[in-house]
């Protein structure tokens, strides 16, 4: 089968690999119909996630048709068209039982700090991912959901990660009616988080980024205020200035390890890789939120220590909340929102690229070429 193949930082290509097999009684094999590239993949692409091995196939946001099921699979049937949440979750461990499906204890032997994630290095379980024609789906009865009748597959594929992550970012913000919410990052996750902030009753939503076309998109899609941090002398002062010197009620970090805006953070976190990424957006979030405010982090960072003004977290009485999204927990509500027309995820998809052109797709998304917001890879069988 065709599969994306990681060769090193900034080097990916399409190759032939054997079709995956059932390795566990609760596995399914899925023929991929759509597979996105995510901001999270850029951390792998840039070589900043430890234990990212050459030869691995990335891809944690995909839909597909069930081709084969193991003897322990009871609910999923061959032929079902499913959306597959990015978390690999057993459904029975103590964390899964609490609804922490992103923190499963039975899906990632290599690290206890995160559950298994498709195509996300060995630090997240060593699974080959969905940027391929076929993929192995463990615990197939737990997370995968049959795509509801009539749902556009483009909406479905964004329900595997972007929408739940953005929704959870707003949810973890504990947004109260009328709150001012600042979202750092106008990638797919940040734009959708700004959109979701309204659902929780925000009174004002502000997005910060440095890419004009993304800011424009956020303004009309969320809809919200959106500012280029390069034109603000200091984003923290700007936010204080626009909130009567108090700070925002809630700040959301939807940027993560690849943040721009601070030379020191960039050198330490993205060039030398001696910290778990560049924490510029998180730094701004902590310093822009009001005392007693909430900083909600969905931006992804590496596992080692990272420079953040933790003293200000203490002194301001800030609550930090963060997690990998618990996709399965949020799916029922979000499917409802899509079906009722409250959320329109597919509008984020700007590029539909053949799987064979995966090298170009990564470059377009990572270098923000051609006004790209969200690219989706189409395997040959899904194009005919």
């Amino acid at each position: 089968m065709l599969a994306m193949n990681y060769r090193g930082p900034h080097r990916v290509r399409i190759d032939h690999k054997p079709v995956p097999e059932i390795l566990h009684p609760q596995d399914a094999i899925v023929r991929v119909t759509r597979s996105c590239i995510c901001g999270s993949d850029l951390h792998l692409y840039n070589g900043s996630v430890p234990d990212t091995r050459v030869g691995m196939t990335f891809g944690h946001e995909f839909t597909g048709v069930v081709e084969q099921v193991g003897p322990g699979v009871e609910k999923l049937k061959v032929g079902d068209h499913v959306l597959v949440p990015f978390n690999i979750a057993c459904g029975t461990c103590v964390f899964c039982q609490q609804g922490l499906y992103g923190n499963c204890h039975e899906s990632n032997p290599q690290a206890t700090a995160v559950g298994g994630i498709y195509g996300y290095s060995h630090t997240a379980g060593g699974y080959d991912g969905g940027q391929a024609e076929y993929v192995r789906v463990p615990y197939a009865d737990v997370s995968p959901a049959v795509i509801p009748e009539g749902m556009d597959p483009d909406d479905a594929v964004l329900l595997t990660d972007v929408v739940p992550t953005a929704f959870q970012a707003a949810e973890m913000g504990g947004i109260q009616t009328g709150d001012t919410v600042v979202v750092f990052g106008a990638g797919p996750v940040g734009i959708m988080a700004a959109r979701c902030a309204w659902l929780f009753g925000a009174g004002r939503v502000i997005v910060i980024d440095c890419v004009d076309y993304r800011l424009d998109f956020a303004r009309t899609y969320a809809p919200c205020e959106a500012y280029d941090f390069r034109s603000l002398e200091d984003p923290v002062v700007f936010i204080k200035g626009t909130t009567e010197s108090l700070g925002a009620d809630v700040c959301i970090d939807a940027v993560g390890a690849e943040a721009a805006g601070s030379a020191l953070q960039t050198v330490l976190g993205r060039k030398l890789l001696v910290q778990g990424g560049s924490a510029t957006a998180l730094h701004w979030a902590i310093n822009s939120v009001k005392k007693g405010g909430i900083v909600s982090i969905v931006g992804v960072y590496g596992p080692v220590g990272t420079h953040v003004p933790i003293g200000n977290v203490v002194n301001k009485g800030i609550t930090l909340r963060a997690n990998q999204a618990s996709v399965k927990r949020l799916l029922p509500r979000l499917i409802e929102h899509v079906q009722n027309g409250i959320l329109d995820p597919k509008a984020l998809i700007t590029h539909r690229i053949p799987l064979e052109d995966v090298s170009d797709a990564y470059r377009i998304f990572s270098a923000k070429l051609d006004d790209c917001i969200k690219p989706v890879l189409m395997p040959p069988s899904a194009r005919s």
């Binding site: 060769r7 390795l23 032997p109 690290a111 463990p138 659902l199 004002r204 205020e225």
Partner: protein
Amino acid sequence: MEHTPKDPSQVLGWGVDADPKNDPTYPMKHRTDGEHAGYSWGRPPRQPPTVEVLHSIERSDLTSAFGTSTPPSGASGALRRFAFQYSESSYGHWLPLMLADRVGVAEGVLNDLKNGRVPNVLAERGWKAEWKHDRTGLVRRILVRGILFSAAVAYFRGKSTDSR
């Protein structure tokens, strides 16, 4: 400012998920203290290991399911095995893994060559897309790198003539 909807309640779906009780400044977990009865669960069936899978020393064994992509091999594999002697809390774990990743890239190139394949690095880096969508940026980068490279060559040439 002009982009703020004047009346947020006009935004489609405004407030449908408002939850006045979700205020994490205060304790929010609905405690049942069930955890205190002990953390145990009926573990799912165990996946038989078919390749070498390393596991964190912060747990006693493999998880019930795991990935089998790209098992450790060669010099990078040796580094990874070394790294897994240390906990996730230790630089002794992460720094050797980062080093192993870099060594793995070189091994990847050697493997390609061994299989009679010269990796097309330009294509892998997606320069076709850059040529199409950001030609000036690409040309500028190549020029800057070219100039830096020639300057470095000229400098070191100069040095070696000096020392003669």
